[in-house]
C-alpha cells in the first residue's frame, strides 16, 4: 500500500487464495502484503510482538501468517475459520484477495470467496504434490466459474530449491488440469517464508525463468467474464423523485447498454427503448458492464424491482424449473419438498427442491445418491419455483445464473446454487386455463371455500374437533371434505415413513390435495400433526390469501400422553416408535395461528363453536 505512488488508471483484480493450513497459505499471503509494502510499521511491530506469543515459526522470526488471523478464537486454535479480505496494490493493479481456509469442513467459505474471484492461487507443498484437498479446491473453484489459476508450489526451501522436485509437481498439475479442462494456468516455485519468487525473484532458483508469483498475478487477463455475453440489467429500484421522472436503477451485468437500444422487460415481455442512461455525473451514451446507472425508457411500461431488462435480440430465458449445482451451507440439512426462499438478482421467490439427482464427492468426482444435503455438500438438484424468473445458465453469466437459498423463518442464508439449464417440462407444460374455475364452482355453493388446517400433537384432539365442526357445517348445508392424517397415510401416502424428509413430503402432498379441494369449492378440514412450521407455511402459500385458516389444537404433552388414545406414546416411550412427534421428533408450535384451541380447558362442543364463529367472521359462511 505504501510502496508506490499510483496513477489513476489502475485495474481491479479480485482473487482468492486456496490451500491448507499446512501448505503455508497465510504465510504466503502475509509475505505478499509485507513485500508489497501493505504492512505499516506499527502493524509490523505488533506482529513481532505476537510472533513471540503465538507464532509457529520459532523464536525471533516474524510469522507473516499472524497478520491475517483476525479473530481471537482463531489465534487460540491456530486455524483460520472464515473468509477474510485483504488489499494490496502495485502500480498497475489493485488486488482484493479473499483468503479462504483450507480446513475440511469449510467448502462453503471457499465457494463464497470463489463467487466473486476471477483468479485463484492454489497453494501446494512441493514435498507432497497434489493432495486430495488440492483436487477439492480445484473442483470448487471451477464449479464457481473461476477461469484463471496460478499454482504456487511452496516450501521450495525445504526441498533444497530442487528443479526436479518442482517439475514433478508441475507435471502432475498439468495432467490434472488437462483432465479437468483447465487451460488458463501457470505455476511458480516459491518459498513463502523466505519470500523467494513471491514478489522478489529468487537467487536460489536460477533455473526458473518463468514469472514470480506477483508477475503472474499482474499478467493481463485473456478475457473478462463480466464483459462478454449480452447485457443484463436486474432492476433494483424504481426511481420516482417526482411525476416528471421515472428511472430504473441497477448495475449492468455483462455486455453494455447504449441509448436507443431496444430492451425487453422480463418476465412480463414488454418492450421499450433506452431514452437516457443517467448518473449524478451526467448522462452517458453507453453503460459498460459493471456500471451502476439509472435507465430512462421511452415508453411507460410496468417494471418492478426484480425484473430483468435485456436486449430484445439476446434475451435471457424465463422458467420456473431448473437443474442446478448447489452448495449447502447450513447446519440444518436441506430437505427436498420443503419451502425455501430463492434470491436471484433482485428477485425473491418460493422454491422447493423436487429431486436431488446426485451428490458429488469432490475428491473422487463420484456421483452419490442422497436424500438430504448436509452442510458443505455439493449436489445437482432439480428446483421448482412458484413463479417463472428470468435467468441465464451460470456458465454464461454469474450474476443472472447464481442464486442463494434463504430460510423463510430465520432469514439465514442457507446455501447457494448455479443454474445449469431450465427443465423442458417447465417451458412445454403450460397450465391449462379452465373456464370453470374456483370462483365459478364456489358460486354454486352457499359458502366460500377454505382450508381449516388443524395442527397439534398426537392425542391433542385434532380429529375430534374437526369432526364436530364438520357435522355442524354439514347440517348447515355446506359442502365439506375431511383429510385425516391416519387415513391419508393408508392410501395416497402409504409409501412414506416418519423421517424428517418423509414428513415434509407427507405434508406437501396433503397441501396439494387440499388446494384441489379448495378449487372444487369445498370447505376442507385437514387434521395432520404437521409438526414443521415451514410446511404449514407452504400449505398456506399454496392456498392463497384468506383461504387458509391455521387452527392450533393445543394440549400439553403431559395431557396428550395421559389420553394416549392409540397407545402410541407408550410405544414411543418404550423406544419402539422412533421419531415420534413430541418424544423423538420436535413439534414447532404455530407462532401466529388464526385460532388456538386449548383442549384441556374446554369441551369439544364449545371449541367447535369457536371455529364456526371464526368462519362466520371471515365471511366463509353466513352467520
Amino acid at each position: 500500500m505504501a510502496a508506490s505512488p499510483k496513477p489513476s488508471e489502475q485495474s481491479h483484480v479480485r482473487m482468492m487464495m486456496c490451500g491448507s493450513v499446512d501448505d503455508g497459505k497465510s504465510t504466503l499471503l502475509g509475505r505478499m502484503l509485507l513485500d508489497c509494502g501493505a504492512v505499516f510499521d506499527d502493524q509490523l511491530h505488533r506482529l513481532s510482538d505476537e510472533s513471540r506469543r503465538y507464532g509457529t515459526t520459532g523464536k525471533d522470526r516474524i510469522d507473516p501468517a499472524l497478520l491475517l488471523d483476525g479473530l481471537a478464537d482463531e489465534r487460540q486454535q491456530g486455524i483460520t475459520i472464515d473468509v477474510a479480505y485483504r488489499y494490496f496494490a502495485t502500480r498497475r493493479r489493485a488486488f482484493i484477495v479473499a483468503d479462504t481456509p483450507g480446513h475440511e469442513q469449510y467448502t462453503r467459505n471457499m465457494a463464497t470467496a470463489a463467487s466473486t474471484a476471477e483468479l485463484a492461487v492454489l497453494l501446494v507443498d512441493v514435498r507432497k504434490g497434489l493432495v486430495a484437498q488440492t483436487r477439492r479446491h480445484m473442483h470448487i473453484v471451477q464449479l464457481l466459474g473461476v477461469r484463471r489459476l496460478v499454482l504456487a508450489i511452496n516450501k521450495m526451501d525445504l526441498a533444497a530449491f530442487s528443479e526436479a522436485a518442482y517439475r514433478a509437481v508441475d507435471q502432475q498439475f498439468a495432467a490434472f488440469a488437462e483432465e479437468r479442462g483447465i487451460d488458463d494456468f501457470v505455476s511458480v516455485p516459491v518459498s513463502a517464508l523466505s519470500g523467494d519468487n513471491v514478489v522478489v525473484r529468487s537467487s536460489s532458483m536460477p533455473w526458473f525463468d518463468g514469472p514470480t508469483l506477483l508477475d503472474a498475478l499482474e499478467a493481463p487477463e485473456r478475457s473478462r467474464l463480466d464483459a462478454a455475453g449480452p447485457a443484463r440489467f436486474p432492476v433494483q429500484m424504481v426511481c420516482r423523485p417526482d411525476s416528471s421522472f421515472r428511472g430504473f436503477q441497477g448495475t449492468v451485468r455483462g455486455g453494455s447498454l447504449s441509448v436507443g437500444q431496444r430492451l425487453i422487460a422480463l418476465p412480463s415481455g414488454r418492450q421499450a427503448s433506452i431514452a437516457r442512461v443517467t448518473t449524478m455525473d451526467g448522462d452517458l451514451e453507453v453503460a459498460a458492464a459493471g456500471r451502476a446507472v439509472t435507465l430512462v425508457l421511452d415508453d411507460e411500461i410496468d417494471i418492478v424491482r426484480g425484473d430483468v431488462l435485456a436486449p430484445v435480440e439476446a434475451r435471457p430465458e424465463v422458467a420456473d424449473q431448473f437443474t442446478a449445482h448447489m452448495v449447502w451451507m447450513d447446519e440444518q440439512p436441506m430437505l427436498p419438498g420443503r419451502r425455501y426462499l430463492l434470491r436471484i438478482g433482485a428477485r425473491t421467490v418460493n422454491v422447493q427442491v423436487t429431486d436431488i439427482k446426485y451428490r458429488i464427492d469432490v475428491e473422487s468426482q463420484r456421483k452419490l445418491a442422497a436424500r438430504t444435503l448436509s452442510s458443505n455438500d455439493i449436489a445437482v438438484c432439480n428446483l421448482s419455483l412458484d413463479q417463472a424468473v428470468p435467468f441465464d445458465p451460470y456458465r454464461v453469466n454469474r450474476d443472472t445464473g447464481g442464486f442463494i437459498f434463504i430460510d423463510p423463518e430465520t432469514n439465514a442464508t442457507l446455501g447457494c446454487g448455479m443454474i445449469d439449464h431450465s427443465l423442458r417440462r417447465s417451458s412445454n407444460v403450460h397450465r391449462q386455463a379452465m373456464r370453470i374455475d374456483r370462483a365459478a364452482r364456489s358460486a354454486q355453493n352457499r359458502h366460500r371455500p377454505c382450508i381449516l388446517w388443524f395442527t397439534g400433537l398426537s392425542g391433542a384432539g385434532k380429529s375430534t374437533v374437526a369432526d364436530a365442526v364438520e357435522q355442524r357445517l354439514f347440517s348447515m348445508g355446506c359442502r365439506t371434505m375431511s383429510l385425516d392424517g391416519d387415513n391419508v397415510r393408508q392410501g395416497l401416502n402409504r409409501d412414506l415413513g416418519f423421517t424428517v424428509e418423509d414428513r415434509v413430503e407427507n405434508i406437501r402432498r396433503v397441501a396439494e390435495v387440499a388446494r384441489l379441494m379448495l378449487d372444487a369449492g369445498l370447505i376442507t378440514l385437514v387434521s395432520f400433526i404437521s409438526p414443521f412450521r415451514s410446511e404449514r407455511e407452504l400449505a398456506r402459500s399454496l392456498a392463497g390469501d384468506g383461504t387458509f385458516l391455521e387452527i392450533f389444537v393445543d394440549a400439553p404433552l403431559r395431557v396428550c400422553e395421559e389420553r394416549d388414545p392409540k397407545g402410541l406414546y407408550r410405544k414411543a416411550r418404550s423406544g419402539s416408535i422412533p421419531n415420534f412427534t413430541g418424544i423423538g421428533s420436535p413439534y414447532e408450535a404455530p407462532t401466529d395461528p388464526e385460532l388456538r384451541l386449548q383442549t384441556d380447558r374446554s369441551d369439544v362442543e364449545s371449541l367447535a363453536e369457536r371455529v364456526i364463529a371464526l368462519l362466520a367472521q371471515r365471511g366463509v359462511i353466513d352467520p
Binding site: 485495474s11 505499516f40 482484493i96 423523485p241 451502476a292 454469474r398 434463504i406
Partner: protein, 297 residues
C-alpha cells in the same frame, strides 16, 4: 473501468439493495473522510432522487468543534435529515474521556448512545463507513453484518455473501449493519476524494494547531475542558489528523500536507497505519472484536 470505478459501482449497488430491502434504513454519519465518501456515494446511488433515509450522528459531546461546524453546514447545504443522538444519562453522569478513561467513555457515549438511537428509530438497517483494511478483525466482517435484537454480533450467525446477492431480510427487532466501503482502502478513499472533489473536514489538512504531547501522542487542545498536567505546555505545531473522533482520544501527526494531493503523496511514504493515532484501539490486538460483540460499529 478502473479500480475506483469498480469500488464506486459496488458501493452504489449495496446502497440500492439495502434501501430496497429495508423498512427503515439510516446512515451513520461520523463526519470523517469515510463518512464523507459514503454520503457522496449515497447521493450518487439514488440520484436524481435524494436518499430516502436520515443521517444519524452519535455525538459524544467531545468531538472537535470544527467537525460539528462541518456537519451542520454540509447537512444544510444538501438538505438532508440529520438525527443527533447524545446519551443524556452519560452527560448527566459527567462521563468523559478525561474523567472516565477512553474505554468507559467510548462504551457509554458512543456504543450505548448508538444503541439508544437505533432502538428509538426502530431502524432495521444502518449504513456505516467502516472498511475491512482498518483492522484485523474487520477483515472478516461481512458487507451486511447481521445483529440480534440486542444489537449483538455473533460470528456464527453471519451470512455467507455470494456474488452481488445481499440478504438483508430480518425479523422484527433484528437489524443489519451495512458497510458499503468494505472493500476500500485508506488510499482508495483519498484518491476518490480527489477525483470527485468531495468536501472533508479541514482538520485532515496540515495547519498550525495548539497541541500537547501526552503518552507519545499529540493531542489538540480543542476547548477549555482539557486539563493540562503540570509538565505539559501547549505548543503550536503544524499537524493534521488521519482519523477524526473525540479530540482527547485522537492523536495528530506532524505533517506539512495541506492538500489532498499532498496527503496522497505523504501516504505513499508513510510507514504507520491510520488507526495508530486512535487511543481506543490500543490495549491489545483483539479489542475491536470485543467492542463489536457488544454492539460497536
Amino acid at each position: 473501468m478502473d479500480h475506483l470505478d469498480h469500488l464506486e459501482a459496488e458501493s452504489i449497488h449495496i446502497f440500492r439493495e439495502v434501501a430496497a430491502q429495508a423498512a427503515r434504513p439510516v446512515m451513520l454519519y461520523s463526519i470523517g473522510k469515510d463518512s464523507s465518501v459514503m454520503l457522496h456515494l449515497a447521493l450518487k446511488a439514488f440520484h436524481p432522487d435524494r436518499p430516502r433515509f436520515p443521517l444519524l450522528h452519535v455525538d459524544t459531546t467531545w468531538k472537535f468543534a470544527e467537525m460539528i461546524r462541518f456537519r451542520d453546514a454540509r447537512v444544510r447545504q444538501l438538505g438532508l435529515d440529520l438525527i443527533v443522538q447524545v446519551n443524556e444519562q452519560g452527560v448527566r453522569d459527567g462521563v468523559g474521556p478525561f474523567s472516565h478513561g477512553a474505554d468507559r467513555h467510548t462504551e457509554v457515549m458512543k456504543t450505548e448512545a448508538l444503541i439508544q438511537a437505533l432502538d428509538k428509530g426502530g431502524f432495521d438497517a444502518a449504513f456505516g463507513g467502516a472498511r475491512r483494511d482498518e483492522e484485523a478483525s474487520r477483515s472478516k466482517e461481512r458487507i451486511l453484518s447481521f445483529r440480534s435484537r440486542a444489537h449483538q454480533w455473533d460470528v456464527k450467525k453471519q451470512r455467507p455473501e455470494m456474488w452481488s446477492l445481499y440478504n438483508g431480510r430480518v425479523n422484527p427487532g433484528e437489524s443489519v449493519r451495512v458497510f458499503p466501503l468494505s472493500n476500500w482502502t485508506e488510499l482508495d478513499v483519498w484518491r476518490y476524494v480527489r477525483r470527485e472533489n468531495i468536501p472533508v473536514v479541514p482538520l485532515y489538512f496540515a495547519s498550525k494547531r495548539p497541541v500537547v504531547e501526552r503518552q507519545g501522542s499529540l493531542i489538540m487542545v480543542d476547548d477549555e475542558r482539557m486539563p493540562l498536567r503540570p509538565e505539559e505546555r501547549v505548543q503550536h505545531r503544524t499537524v493534521r489528523f488521519r482519523t477524526l473522533g473525540c479530540y482527547p482520544l485522537t492523536g495528530a501527526i506532524e505533517s506539512e500536507a495541506a492538500s489532498v494531493d499532498a496527503i496522497i503523496e505523504e501516504m505513499a511514504a508513510s510507514r504507520t497505519s491510520e488507526r495508530q493515532g486512535r487511543l481506543i484501539d490500543r490495549p491489545d490486538g483483539t479489542s475491536m472484536e470485543a467492542k463489536k460483540r457488544a454492539g460497536y460499529f
